[in-house]
């Protein structure tokens, strides 16, 4: 039973454990087939009477909308950009995994499954991950059929590379633009359906609320959404038989991240406030090789492919505050700290270790570049060993990108890099069917928490987005829709009106405050708090402090923010204000989640929980569960309720990792 007051030093209360009721049992290889076989089907003739809302047109949303439209459902799709093709999936560079074993190097569905569970630091569900690995194979077939121009070998067959520290070559890629090419494939499939009239597309529409309506049995079902037309400001309500959220990740809670400027949590956070559980919000992936911040005006961070670490050597000056240019620091005054601390893996240690190590160096005052927030990534040795043309052939486009952004020539002086927030493993809690705990509300892609556990392997997010959209949802959603069409919901249904009024009231409030602080200044401050206390290294003390700071900031926001203009126009300040309001609340929950999880695992490092050598230490006995947070709708919204979903491992043995 739920108690209503948090224990001392805590901000949350603990509710009942939950289970994934949709999870199939039996041999793991059969589970997905069984689930598909047992799923109810929808008669093709009935599908045109059934309406599905899909929010988001990234890999997950576009592939889902296209597939559902093709199957004959009436799909209504939304995105906040001016075209579905611009969803942030477009920015993924590296590649997409699939267990094709084209290289005959011992890869298999089972190995991809195994690597992903292990990579997720034993905080993901075996069934889900196995399905992901199984479906990965179909994704590549599907994409090739659509004309995605993957890299090929001279014989005309598909090329692969190895990625993210795994020993097999299973990553398919399209130069450094894999996300772009995959998204354009899904986008074209989507546009085909729009042309065919099965999908209605609404661009520049931002979802601001979910509409829940109880059915005859009193079950609350997701039956629609409230959106704002970002050009006219009109608040529209849309109703349907089911709602799918595929709205991407919330890394922008840190203000600076590699996410797009518009990436937000609004859709998922609104659903959360309506009762959907938010799972593992604190699991954040921080990428070690980003271009460092150059000044206060910085608006976002740019990722450079991790492959740079294959040939670049990372170092800092041995002396604190050494501000000589790199070229004037002699060899024996440089500290190649990764090579020193991790002699066997050196510069190739996993993302989180590399990131943290850089932070420690900078904390010690050895950082380089503006604000001392950077470390060197030096190619001088590689250029000497391989020759400049070889380095150019391998990394030319990355070097060009670096030069364009920083104005420095990485061939003659070392690059500067610093870690940045890149991906969030947390998201809405979903069952095996990708359904949230709200009936009829589904969640796909980075927006859900499903497959990556505490840490995502490189090239696996694209795989998950497309698996969800092309192959999982169309089956599991059909099972849900078999009982539909549900009763029609009129536009003046009290729940619809109520949801719309909530949205309108919030907008009016934002416009009325008319304070003195800009939205961005508050967002930046939130970002600093999150980065400082809920970033690469977290402590109980810091997280507690952060919760307090965020609450103050939230108050500052709601009393002193300045939003110019009116609702009835294209108002980018208003758009940002709404997003930041939600980030403030999400940031608080992230800190509370991080505080609760007194262990280090994957993308969550608690300083209190490390080995003598500074290695992350899990506590499987206490924390082998998914943290599914319920919003305290009845209270003041400050005391979230934790539901634990225990994780069991039947196939992969839980082990600690070591990179020394």
């Amino acid at each position: 039973m739920t108690t209503t007051t948090p224990a001392p030093g805590e901000f949350h209360v603990v509710g009942d454990d939950i289970r994934d009721a949709a999870a199939p049992t039996g041999p793991i290889e059969r589970r997905w087939d069984d689930r598909k076989f047992n799923a109810k089907l929808v008669n093709p003739a009935n599908r045109r009477k059934i309406k599905v809302i899909v929010v988001g047109t990234g890999l997950a949303g576009a592939s889902a909308a296209a597939t559902l439209g093709e199957a004959g459902y009436q799909v209504v799709s939304f995105c906040y950009q001016d075209s579905p093709r611009r969803a942030h999936s477009i920015a993924a560079q590296g590649g997409i995994n699939a267990a094709k074993n084209y290289r005959n190097d011992g890869d298999s569905i089972y190995r991809l499954f195994y690597d992903t569970v292990k990579g997720g630091d034993f905080r993901s569900r075996e069934s889900n991950v196995y399905r992901l690995a199984q479906v990965s194979v179909n994704i590549i077939d599907q994409c090739v059929a659509q004309g995605v121009p993957f890299a090929r070998e001279y014989g005309g067959l598909l090329d692969n590379r190895s990625f993210g520290g795994v020993q097999v070559s299973r990553t398919f890629y399209a130069r450094g633009q894999t996300g772009q090419q995959l998204l354009i494939g899904a986008y074209q499939a989507l546009e085909r359906q729009i042309g065919a009239g099965t999908v209605e597309m609404n661009t520049r529409h931002e979802m601001l609320e979910v509409i829940l309506v109880p059915d005859a049995d009193g079950v609350e079902r997701a039956r629609g959404i409230v959106v704002r037309d970002m050009v006219t400001g009109e608040i529209e309500t849309h109703t349907a038989d089911a709602v799918v959220l595929a709205t991407g990740g919330y890394g922008n809670v840190f203000f600076l991240s590699t996410n797009a400027m518009g990436s937000n949590t609004t859709a998922t956070w609104r659903a959360h406030k309506k009762g959907a559980y938010f799972a593992n919000p604190c699991y954040t992936q921080i990428h070690p090789t980003c271009i460092p911040v150059s000044g206060e005006y910085q608006s976002k961070l740019t990722l450079m492919s991790e492959s740079l670490r294959n040939d670049g050597r990372i170092w800092v000056p041995k002396k604190e505050g050494d501000d000589r240019p790199a070229s004037q620091i002699p060899e024996d005054e440089r500290d190649y700290y990764l090579e020193r601390i991790y002699p066997s893996f050196g510069n190739l240690v996993p993302r989180d270790i590399a990131s943290r190590a850089a932070k420690y160096q900078c904390d010690d005052g050895k950082g380089v570049g503006p604000g001392g927030l950077g470390v060197y990534l030096d190619f001088a040795d590689a250029i000497e060993r391989l020759g400049r043309p070889a380095v150019e052939a391998k990394y030319g486009n990355l070097f060009d990108m670096y030069a364009r952004i920083t104005g420095e020539d990485p061939y003659s002086e070392p690059m500067r890099i610093y870690p940045a927030v890149h991906y969030v493993m947390g998201g809405l809690w979903v069952d095996y069917d990708l359904q949230t705990n709200i009936t009829g509300l589904f969640c796909a892609g980075e927006a859900n928490f499903s497959d990556h556990g505490a840490n995502r392997l490189g090239a696996s997010a694209l795989m998950q987005g497309l698996a969800d959209g092309y192959f999982v949802l169309p089956n599991t959603l059909a099972d849900y829709l078999a009982a539909s069409p549900f009763e029609k919901i009129a536009d003046d249904h009290p729940r619809v009106v109520e949801a719309r009024q909530e949205v309108e009231a919030r907008i009016t409030k934002l416009l009325e405050i008319d304070g003195t602080r800009t939205v961005d200044s508050i967002h930046k401050e939130l970002g600093h708090i999150m980065w400082e206390y809920c970033g690469m290294e977290r402590t109980a003390e810091g997280l507690t402090k952060a919760v307090g700071l965020i609450r103050e900031l939230k108050n500052e926001f709601w009393t002193n923010v300045k939003v110019t203009g009116v609702n009835e126009e294209l108002n980018q300040t208003l758009e940002r204000a709404g997003r930041v309001a939600d980030f403030l609340e999400l940031g608080e929950l992230m800190c509370i989640d991080a505080l609760n999880r007194a262990e280090s695992c994957g993308g969550h490092f608690r300083a209190e929980s490390q080995t003598e050598d500074g290695e992350a230490m899990r506590h499987d006995d206490q924390f082998a569960y998914v943290s599914a947070w319920e919003y305290d709708t009845d209270g003041d919204g400050q005391t979230p309720i934790l539901h634990k979903e225990p994780l069991e491992y039947e196939y992969v043995e839980m082990k600690a990792r070591s990179y020394k």
Binding site: T67, E70, Q81, D82, S83, R85, R86, H88, A91, K100, Y102, D141, Q142, V144, A145, Q146, G147, P149, A151, R152, Y154, G156, L157, L158, A174, R175, Q177, Q180, Q181, Q188, A189, E191, R192, I194, G195, M201, T203, V231, A260, M261, G262, S294, G295, Y297, Q298, S299, K300, L303, R404, I405, T406, G407, P474, T518, D520, T564, G565, E569, L570, T573
Partner: protein, 250 residues
């Protein structure tokens, strides 16, 4: 450094716009062009003025959301997207003119923001390969010669930004349209729909009100992704073929 910007301000689609001048006192040369606009907008907001509306999302040159005409050139003086342009390209004391893409088929929504929905509709008219989900054959059963695959990839890197249209004196979207024709037309998977694709896309291109190509080449010169001009010749060849097959009735 000190910079003066002249920006096209237009309240909404129906309003008449004009150029408005704003001085900026301390611009850092490492700022990106859009960060310079961010700084201006922070200042305007504090002063209670309406900030300048402009589009951007990824800010790393791949989503194609950003794009303004800078000193008469789409995306400005360097071959890159607006978001990847940095202030170090300019000098202290410079005056920079900033205007939205201009084209009949890209109506201005507000200030520097335009509506590029016409591009999506061109794709709807045939810019795809019909491959129903689940119907695909094993990927390696469709070998593609590396040269074709590379060339198709090159054409497929178009980010749909619209700079080609803004640069073209005729407001033609041939480079955009042809890049898709080339991407899909070079692949074996794209062959069955090759004729209907080019017919549909060209018809839609015209219906949207884009102009005709006069082979001037400003599009390629302005294109941040360097989409080559020969894609347009490929479209012309494909259309000629499709029309003649249509005429013969085969």
């Amino acid at each position: 450094m000190k910079i003066t910007v002249n920006i096209w301000r237009q309240k909404d689609a129906d309003a008449k716009g004009s150029m408005v001048t704003y001085p900026l006192e301390s611009v850092d040369e490492h700022m990106s062009f859009l960060e310079m606009l961010d700084v201006l907008n922070e200042k305007l907001t504090i002063d209670g003025e309406d900030p300048v509306a402009f589009d951007s999302d990824c800010r790393e040159g791949i989503c194609g959301t950003c794009g303004v005409v800078i000193n008469g050139i789409p995306h400005g003086p360097e071959v890159t997207t607006t978001c990847q342009l940095h202030m170090r390209t300019f000098k202290d004391g410079d005056t920079i003119d900033i205007e939205p893409w201009r084209a009949g088929a890209f109506p201005v929504v507000k200030d520097l923001v335009v509506d590029r929905g016409s591009f999506d509709r061109i794709i709807q008219a045939g810019g795809y390969i019909s491959a129903p989900t689940g119907a695909a054959v094993e990927a390696n059963n469709i070998p593609v010669p590396k040269a074709d695959a590379d060339h198709a990839f090159e054409a497929a890197t178009c980010i749909g930004c619209g700079a080609c249209v803004a640069a073209c004196p005729n407001g033609s979207a041939m480079l955009f349209t042809a890049s898709k024709i080339t991407h899909l037309g070079l692949l074996p998977q794209g062959q069955p729909e090759r004729d209907s694709r080019v017919l549909g896309m060209v018809e839609q291109h015209d219906a949207e009100g884009f102009g005709g190509c006069t082979n001037i080449g400003e599009c390629t010169a302005a294109c941040p992704k360097g989409i080559p001009l020969d894609v347009i010749s490929r479209l012309n060849r494909d259309l000629l073929g499709a029309l003649s097959r249509q005429a013969v009735g085969s």
